[in-house]
């Protein structure tokens, strides 16, 4: 596929790795903010190939992971009600709320459906005028515009039985919260390319200047990640801290004006709780006054549900880069993808699940090449 294969080329990856190795003179801690990038890093073993001095800290950029427990509980409550069709992206179904997940609600008779776009949920609402259809609108600046567009359409077409359970979050305030944490170790950021393809890059220069950190916007293929790391390390070694765009094939500095206008119309900035981290000021969106009638929390009167998070889950520290997943006492014992304590163990983009799935191997005992290498044998 164009723009995929050429960004996974092992020879080019090797060249970038060599450049990173020859650039680094001392230890640096970089954070990739986005869960999609975390997934790529672990899946391709990129962290094993970087120099020891380059540490990648996995940030709070998995929308599934940071959705607060109490929002999940609201979703479970709404999805359990008779007459409701609850639509969600697939990976939210396994996220544990208090004692159950959406799969469980479905097995108990709830009408929970996986959709691939919020517009599909709107279609379901039009086909089922006697049912209340709710879409679980979670995610970062990437999933917010289609959700905004869907609510906009619902209002324009006068579809009264559609609503949105909103838990949108924004990247820049999260970066700010991480940098303000007293125990912060992050010295440079890989910013999420898809977020910037919507929002542009205007929000980042101020952050880079205020906290003296390089911020490199990059994509999701192995070469994107490596190029992002290379540029960030180069800046750090030179003592620079500017915003760079390493994802020019998708990101324009001004972002996507149509999407921005839609967000402006439908949403308004609000404080938002992040699972495991707590409330970050101005870090989320809610439906604006003009669209409040489509807010599922109000429609189903679940605004009062509040939930405390389990004490033994340290996902908050993982999401802030304070500990690595396997440094949590519960990792792989009390907490596994089968029995996740926190969302970072649920989503395949969650740092804990990624570690559990791809890195359970003791790397010290990584598989040696077979005694008779296949390359040298006549087989194959």
């Amino acid at each position: 596929m164009k723009y995929i294969d050429e960004f996974q080329d092992p020879a080019l990856a090797r060249r970038l790795l060599d450049e990173i190795h020859s650039t680094v003179t001392r230890p640096w801690a970089l954070m990739e903010v986005c869960g999609g990038q975390t997934h790529t890093i672990i899946r391709h073993g990129i962290d094993q190939l970087l120099p020891d001095q380059v540490e990648l800290i996995h940030g709070p950029g998995c929308p599934v992971c940071v959705t607060p427990l109490e929002v999940i509980d609201k979703a479970l409550e709404i999805a359990s009600r008779p007459g409701v069709i609850f639509c969600s992206f697939g990976d939210m179904l396994r996220v544990p709320g208090t004692g159950r997940d959406l799969f469980r609600v479905r097995s108990e008779g709830g009408d929970v459906r996986v959709v691939y776009s919020p517009l599909d949920a709107l279609t379901i609402a039009r086909q089922n005028p006697d049912r209340e259809v709710v879409f679980f609108g979670i995610g970062f600046e990437t999933t917010a515009p289609p959700n905004a567009m869907t609510v906009h359409q619902a209002k324009r077409l006068g579809i009264p039985n559609f609503s949105l359970l909103v838990s949108h979050v924004r990247v820049p305030p999260a970066i700010e919260a991480i940098m303000q944490s007293p125990s912060c170790r992050v010295q440079g950021f890989l910013a999420a390319g898809h977020v910037c393809s919507v929002m542009g890059m205007a929000e980042y220069p101020e952050l880079a200047a205020r906290y003296q950190v390089p911020i490199v916007v990059t994509g999701f293929e192995p070469l994107d990640i490596l190029e992002g790391v290379r540029r960030t390390v180069l800046q750090l070694e030179r003592g620079e801290h500017t915003v760079e765009n390493a994802y020019e094939r998708a990101v324009r500095p001004e972002g996507n004006p149509a999407a921005l206008a839609m967000l402006e119309d439908v949403f308004e900035v609000t404080d938002r709780a992040w699972r495991g981290i707590g409330v970050i000021p101005d870090s989320g969106w809610r439906l604006s006054e003009r669209y409040r009638e489509f807010d599922a929390e109000h429609r189903f009167s679940v605004t009062g549900i509040t939930t405390r998070e389990p004490a033994e889950c340290r996902s908050g520290e993982v999401l802030q880069g304070l500990i690595k997943p396997h440094e949590c006492e519960a990792f792989g014992t009390l907490c596994t993808p089968r029995n996740p304590l926190g969302a970072t163990m649920v989503s395949s983009e969650g740092a804990c699940a990624a570690y559990y799935l791809y890195r359970r191997l003791d790397l010290q005992a990584a598989p040696a090449a077979p005694t008779t290498p296949l390359e040298a044998s006549p087989v194959g």
Binding site: G90, R94, R104, S107, P222, A365, P370, T371
Partner: protein, 364 residues
């Protein structure tokens, strides 16, 4: 990296930690009701069988947990297998539920080295389904049975009320004779065995997804649904000493390799760059956030072959129409017993785990 990696934990099935906190002896404490994942061919399915079915009616033959049972009956070695088909939509690019119902069971028999011979066929039809649909399915079953060289010799039909089924469900069971000298079991796998896959992976799963309600993405992929008896016969003709065969259906290549690694207690190392993933499958998976290793196949097999026979077996496979794309993807190793590890294109490694339940598309 300089960090200390997490200590290895044993696979979930055998990890004592999973038993920790089992406060009551009742099975499946996490799931008071059946969830979709219990039918996904992954860890949840395995748990349902291990903790609920086996204690109630498991004997030594069932405890083997193969795709088919190998039995001795009147001095003959028989393979016996059953499978139910609940695919939606009923018709998809490259086949329909009828082909699947024949080939799926034929392939389960073939994986034990048997010559598939006879099938049973149980229909569960939904009230109101169009007769033309049933007729198309039946015709496809007849064509598939003839192509596979098997005969449907007994059957049953039930009808459920409208709204209680997806139009057509089919169960087929099959028997076949296992030739003398053939003993295909995961327990026979030893370090050094060569792992061969018979062709491109992920076609069936992507073909189904491409026409599933709400997805309908344009992709030029047809299901690889096909009977593998002939391919297995040509492999066994080279040497009866193949160690194990699996058809990687639900849960895909990852599930098949994990089953073999767990049952044999050896490690499996896969070279990601050698696994044949066709571009259309790679693209669809990339868009949907799925991993091709976990996507279903219906006309492929994975073979663990002693190294000294690997080349001859590979040649025989490539000479067969259903094995033209056969390729070596890895080997059984002494390291990381019971685990499947992939060496990535870039030279890193990662664990390829057993899928939990259903694969869920990722958000972004």
């Amino acid at each position: 990296m300089a960090e200390t990696a997490p200590a290895r934990t044993a696979p979930a099935e055998t990890a004592p930690l999973d038993i920790n906190g089992w406060t009551c002896p009742a099975p499946l404490r996490d799931h008071p009701r059946v969830v979709m994942g219990h039918g996904g061919g992954g860890a949840l399915s395995a748990e349902l069988v291990q903790h609920l079915f086996l204690p109630e009616f498991g004997g030594p033959a069932l405890a083997q947990l193969g795709d088919s049972a190998a039995l001795s009956l009147g001095g003959v070695r028989l393979a016996f297998s059953t499978d139910s088909y609940v695919v939606r939509p009923l018709f998809f690019p490259g086949g329909c539920i009828g082909d699947l119902a024949v080939n799926g069971t034929v392939n389960d028999l073939a994986m034990s080295g048997a010559e598939p011979a006879y099938l049973s066929c149980g229909f569960i039809l939904e009230e109101g389904v169009e007769m033309s649909v049933v007729s198309r399915v039946a015709r496809a079953m007849g064509d598939a049975a003839r192509a596979a060289g098997v005969e449907v010799v007994t059957g049953d039909t039930k009808v459920v009320e409208s709204g209680h089924g997806d139009g057509v469900y089919i169960n087929t069971a099959g028997i076949g004779i296992i030739p003398a000298g053939v003993d295909l079991r995961a327990q026979r796998v030893v370090p050094g065995d060569v792992v061969i896959v018979s062709g491109e992976i992920g076609l069936h799963g992507v073909a189904i997804m491409s026409v599933r309600e709400g997805l309908e993405f344009g992709v030029d992929v047809e299901s690889d649904c096909a009977p593998l008896g002939g391919l297995v016969r040509s492999m066994l003709a080279v040497t009866p000493d193949l160690h194990v065969l699996r058809d990687p259906t639900r849960g895909g290549l990852a599930a098949a390799l994990n089953e073999i690694a767990t049952a044999s207690g050896t490690g499996v190392l896969v070279h990601e760059a050698r696994v044949p993933v066709p571009p259309a499958v790679a693209n669809a998976c990339s868009i949907l956030g799925l991993d091709p290793f976990y996507v279903a196949n219906e006309g492929k097999l994975v073979a663990f072959v002693p190294r000294e026979h690997a080349e001859a077996v590979l040649d025989a496979m490539r000479a067969h129409p259903l094995g033209r794309g056969a390729t070596v993807i890895g080997e059984a190793v002494e390291a990381h017993p019971g685990m499947v590890v992939a060496r990535t294109r870039l030279g890193g490694t990662r664990v390829v785990d057993l899928p939990l339940g259903e694969q869920l598309p990722r958000i972004c």
